[in-house]
């Protein structure tokens, strides 16, 4: 597979390490959320047959974590974003 890296352009998926569903970015706050919330966040998945937002790490590249939107049936890549930007857009900023 090939991902169109937002900074580096097309790069082979072999350079990346896969983590999983991008919903993992929404980590609950450990001081307020309890076991149930953490359990649902860490273990349960939509696992769609179709568009899937997922986290890939460019280990053999620029070390960026990316959010790749990819169709799990056709493997078509619809969108590639820097995870850092997505996280900030989610309000992960001071």
């Amino acid at each position: 597979m090939i991902f169109n890296h937002p900074i580096l352009g097309p790069r082979d998926a072999q350079e990346f390490v896969y983590l999983g569903d991008a919903s993992l970015m929404r980590r609950p706050d450990g001081m307020t959320a309890g076991i149930e919330a953490f359990h649902d966040w860490l273990y349960n998945r939509d696992n769609p047959a179709g568009e899937h937002r997922e986290l890939w790490y460019h280990e053999q590249g620029d070390r960026s974590w990316l959010v790749v939107t990819r169709n799990t049936v056709t493997h078509e890549v619809i969108r590639v974003e820097l995870a850092r930007d997505v996280a900030k857009a989610m309000g992960r900023t001071k």
């Binding site: 999983g20 359990h39 860490l42 349960n44 998945r45 696992n47 047959a49 997922e54 056709t74």
Partner: protein, 416 residues
């Protein structure tokens, strides 16, 4: 009709006129006591045991494609019960015992062949871990043997012993492990279930579930609504899709696992072997093809096909272990959808919907589990309580922190 050598000879001498269809093609009825969703190995086995050992009737198996078209028809045919953890080993050993009597039970030769499985050891830490595992196996009534380097060399003198990056230091053997002709398992269960009156309905995809007052009433299908008192879902690979009809999110991801077969070769490898320092396992089919595989591709996929890097990775492991296969040719690659669970172990459990039961999360280990999975799922469906060897396969083990994580990889399915 009963199969036997005499029957084959008799039919041969009379022009094979007497053979009958191995299963009927019934039209679905309006309602069943049990609807099993999924005509793969697990679903067919469930129906077979439900109709037999558990004395139930009015059973249908709904298959969206053709019988045995899922992972039972596209795996690398290995059976073993060499697990380490309490939640797993009794179940897989139960499965092994069922394999050992399967053909006589089904009157179908699935070629259960206990030629042994050997997990190679390349480090002291690996030996320690295999020693722990082997002892757990024996404590569970299974068989296990720890071999040293020379014992392995005696079995396979042509492996790479002298120029290896990661030298072979021994192996953990289970002699009762081996291989089974995978398609024959599906066909054997299908034929036997059909003979027990189970309706096997092909080209019938479940498109919805009718749930009223927290209870299952039946399933919507491409062939219309089919009522059911109880519905058992055994569709590993598509579990998330089907259970979404009941509003469930599962601790499961779908991943692609590739498998490979070489051109036919004269006998080279007797049993099953796994390379402990690379991603490669191999056996040789009765037709002579080397059947091998390695890791899953590692990303969510329903595509039933993989990519080149894993093919290369597996070949590298194969050549590192067996430099003699350099000129053997890879004939065919294919992919299956694996129900990768969050701890690498399966789920056989009730759901929040009365009468709806789930069987899945088999990762890439589902084939060897087929008989026990069918038996235990039938047990759960018929008696509403888990079979004693499957008590740990619950949904809530993740909430309670009782994971069954053989590899110790944690909640990352692609690492299991």
């Amino acid at each position: 009709m009963r199969y036997s050598g005499f029957r084959v000879i008799a039919e041969a001498l009379t022009g094979h006129r007497g053979w009958k269809p191995v299963w009927r093609d019934p039209a679905p009825e309006g309602e069943y006591d049990y609807v099993i969703v999924g005509g793969g190995g697990h679903g067919l086995a469930t129906a077979y045991y439900l109709a037999g050992e558990f004395r139930q009737s009015r059973i249908a198996v709904l298959e969206k494609g053709y019988l045995g078209g899922g992972n039972v028809g596209r795996n690398t045919t290995i059976i073993r019960s060499n697990y380490m953890l309490d939640g797993n080993e009794p179940f897989y050993e139960f499965s092994m015992k069922l394999w050992e009597g399967l053909e006589q039970d089904l009157n179908y030769n699935a070629m259960v062949s206990q030629r042994g499985i050997l997990n190679l050891i390349h480090s002291d830490a690996q030996r320690d871990a295999f020693t722990r595992r082997g002892n757990a196996m024996i404590l569970n009534g299974a068989d296990a043997e720890l071999l040293d380097r020379e014992q392995v060399r005696a079995m396979y003198p042509w492996l790479n012993f002298d120029n290896a990056r990661f030298p072979i230091k021994g192996g953990l053997a289970q002699r009762r492990g081996g291989t089974v002709r995978h398609d024959a398992v599906a066909w054997g269960y299908a034929r036997a279930a059909d003979l027990r009156g189970v309706d096997l309905i092909q080209n019938c995809e479940v498109t919805g579930m009718r749930i009223e007052g927290g209870r299952i009433r039946g399933v919507e299908t491409t062939r219309g609504f089919i009522g059911a008192k109880k519905v058992g879902v055994a569709v590993a690979g598509s579990s998330s899709k089907v259970m979404a009809h009941a509003g469930m999110r599962l601790p499961i991801e779908s991943h692609v696992l590739q498998a490979f077969v070489s051109e036919g070769l004269k006998p080279l490898i007797d049993g099953v072997m796994t390379f402990g320092a690379g991603h490669f396992y191999v056996s040789q089919s009765d037709k002579g093809g080397l059947v091998f595989g390695g890791d899953i591709d590692g990303y969510n996929s329903y595509a039933q096909r993989g990519n080149l890097p894993v093919i290369e990775d597996v070949a590298e492991g194969g050549m590192a272990l067996m430099p003699a296969i350099g000129r053997a040719r890879l004939l065919r690659t294919w992919g299956g959808i694996m129900d990768m669970s969050m701890d690498g172990s399966p789920i056989i459990d009730k759901t929040h919907v009365d009468g709806l039961y789930f069987n899945g999360g088999w990762c890439y280990g589902g084939f060897k589990a087929t008989p026990a999975s069918g038996w235990c799922f039938a047990h759960l469906l018929a008696k509403d309580e888990p079979h004693k060897t499957a008590t740990a396969y619950r949904f809530d083990r993740f909430l309670k922190g009782l994971m069954i994580d053989e590899k110790g990889q944690g909640a990352q399915p692609n690492l299991h």
